[in-house]
Symmetry: C2
Subunit: 142 residues, 2 copies
Amino acid sequence: MCLQCDYESLLRASRLDVTDNRRRVLEVIGNNSYPLSAADIFQTLQRSAAINRVTVYRILDLLVAHGLVERISTGGRAAYFGLAPNEHHRPHPHFYCKRCGQMECLNPESLTLDSDAFGKTFPGRIDKVEVRLDGICKNCMR
Amino acid sequence: MCLQCDYESLLRASRLDVTDNRRRVLEVIGNNSYPLSAADIFQTLQRSAAINRVTVYRILDLLVAHGLVERISTGGRAAYFGLAPNEHHRPHPHFYCKRCGQMECLNPESLTLDSDAFGKTFPGRIDKVEVRLDGICKNCMR
DNA sequence: CCCATCGTGCAATAAAGTTGCATAGACCAA
DNA sequence: TTGGTCTATGCAACTTTATTGCACGATGGG
Ligand SMILES: [Mn+2]
Ligand SMILES: [Mn+2]
Ligand SMILES: [Zn+2]
Ligand SMILES: [Zn+2]
């Protein structure tokens, strides 16, 4: 959940036309405290007003391409989506429960790694560093 | 590439019957210096002797379940497979080139993170830590 | 008004992986 | 040897997740 983010402004800052659907997709992602799958987002949106599944995928691609949303891989098949790191959100690792499929955001301090130093010596372009822990969450443990 | 691994012994040590197909799948994975997709593995195997696509998937599942092979996620849709960490192979991060789809194994020292300490305080079970860098590889850069 | 562009919907398609079912060989007990 | 059971494999069908092609309506500038 991002209380400091104004989603319309975020869209405009990326020079994207603000449409209802784009704002709604970004809101669902930004108002949630953990990343969601495209199916989750689609279902949530459907509850308030009709939207097409393909439109959701296209908007997700768009928001990822413009750096507003981050595509996060899971140990499973579907991608998850969360707000991309920005001034209010530092990059952080995620935990993925392979039993219930819920993803958790971990504290940015909890696991640190010095990728800047590594990037200096790497002979390619690094766009993103993803740290994911897989396992069974607290709820699914008992 | 693992020069120290005897694939038949690895299978037997996991109490798996040694079949031609299982040995061949494990060999393709172990003899390669970077992780491969199921499709890559299937194609490679086809070149030496016929095998069914489904058999490859089933063997991969089996080897992953027994901890001989590691399933590695990419920024894309298909999973990649590499030898699981063992006494000869320390866990290490990977780099995934989103242009050519090639995955590289990075040096275990290159990016370190203290997940043991974190695990102590986490109220769930952590089975695996995956660190992946996404970007464009040296070859695709120019 | 005309035209171009854009956002969206809907149907079809694609990519990656999974499931159901049949069969052939291995193994074992009688 | 026979009969029974189990396992690995193959093949077809299917599922899940995502993408593409095409149509259409809204918008906005000349
Ligand atoms: Mn997060
Ligand atoms: Mn590796
Ligand atoms: Zn769970
Ligand atoms: Zn490349």
